[in-house]
Symmetry: C2
Subunit: 254 residues, 2 copies
Amino acid sequence: MEYTVQKLSKMAGISSRTIRYYDEIGILKPARISSSGYRIYGQKEVDRLQQILFYRELGLNLENIREIVTNPAFDETEALHEHHERLQEKRKQLDLLISNVEKTISLKEGRITMSDKEKFAGFKQKLVDDNEKKYGEEVRAKYGNESVDKSDQKVLNMTQEQYEEVTRLETEFKETLKSAFKAGDPAGELAQKAADLHRRWLTFFWDNYTEEAHAGVAQMYVDDERFTAYYDRDQPGTAEFLRDAVLIYTGMKK
Amino acid sequence: MEYTVQKLSKMAGISSRTIRYYDEIGILKPARISSSGYRIYGQKEVDRLQQILFYRELGLNLENIREIVTNPAFDETEALHEHHERLQEKRKQLDLLISNVEKTISLKEGRITMSDKEKFAGFKQKLVDDNEKKYGEEVRAKYGNESVDKSDQKVLNMTQEQYEEVTRLETEFKETLKSAFKAGDPAGELAQKAADLHRRWLTFFWDNYTEEAHAGVAQMYVDDERFTAYYDRDQPGTAEFLRDAVLIYTGMKK
DNA sequence: TATTGACATTGACGCAACGTAAGGGTTTAT
DNA sequence: ATAAACCCTTACGTTGCGTCAATGTCAATA
């Protein structure tokens, strides 16, 4: 029995374009070409197509499928195991995503006015994450590898009150920092108050607070231009000022 | 404070290409263009970018994001709800996929020699599914909407013995059908035996067997060219012959 | 001041797996 | 003979950018 593209495609329930494509990328060549240039497929090709479709249903990409069907000695089991892992990873990410979307929805339906600052929540979250990532070994050793994921969840897991509290804290911190910067003394009362507010703000995102970590973060605000840009936005030099204040606050300096 | 692409990109933790792309598709235009053609962004644009990135993190596509950020009156909550549904659907499919991959792996690690026929399992499965789909109202009403999903799982849920049994049954059925077709009488002993084997084979895939459904499937083998091609592969006319035999077997004819 | 080096710009291709015409021959049925 | 139903190749569109390539601009240094 011989098949043209159309017949084959109807048998397999796929489009003829797909069959030509499979020819094009070389995973399913026709048995022969007719005198008028038509693709002609035989039983062997039908079998192979079914094999291809089987793996396709399992979500393998065509490159992997090619390896399996072109090399009979290929270790399909291993390929499937790897595929399985990728799928698991995908599911984890999807679950996280869904959870975040749900949190966002309930936040919004909780009628919190979505001010600009609140829109920043995710972004600030990212800052904190990057923070943790960069701060490196010490923090990671303490919080484990899952800290990033956990941290990712944290802002969105907050209750409405917690959320309002952290927003309020942040505003107060920024204003205090601004005044302190104008005053000019990182060891002064205002600057130390700012450092304290900063600590309280941080503990909303961290499970464990340590003075070392706090100092490390403050240093990073100076080292990483992203943070520097963020803190220096209104008044250049603020990041450095904050670092000095925090170093004093944590007892790391003077 | 003003930002060039590079500065903005570093602040937001994305690439400058992305920023140009967002300009290109019109979801984030620069505040102005410098005399030398540079894109210059201001505070408003920073805020907007952060909004964009927030929704991006939630997995919304840029088209949806555009709707949200360009039209302040747009119902974000509804968009998020729809997005949530899409994600749920995705997860369901992903779970099914994972389950299928797992079943396939255990099948393979169960050291069943993966002959061509076994590779067809998924495909045959598909045949049965299509079958049910096409057969339409009656069967659906009986099995409910989930029957397709359930059926999808069934082949792969089989124990090794069941699997071998169904494979054996199928072989016997096909051989009997072939002989019966040669004999030529759909009411004859061989043909009726084939119809019986066909029934037994079907019951591996169906929860409930009814003569009506059996007859319907047999009729479909003739009506749907995909099935016809499958059954007529070796001997044209076989599909029709089988239908006649089954119609007699189920008492729907003669 | 001439030259780097780090920035900026606009194209334009590449990716994955096809869908969807466009433009033009071939086979089959009437 | 003619239309319907096939077949072919070529090539653009999809999504969200990554990655050159060719070229212009700006700030700092030798």
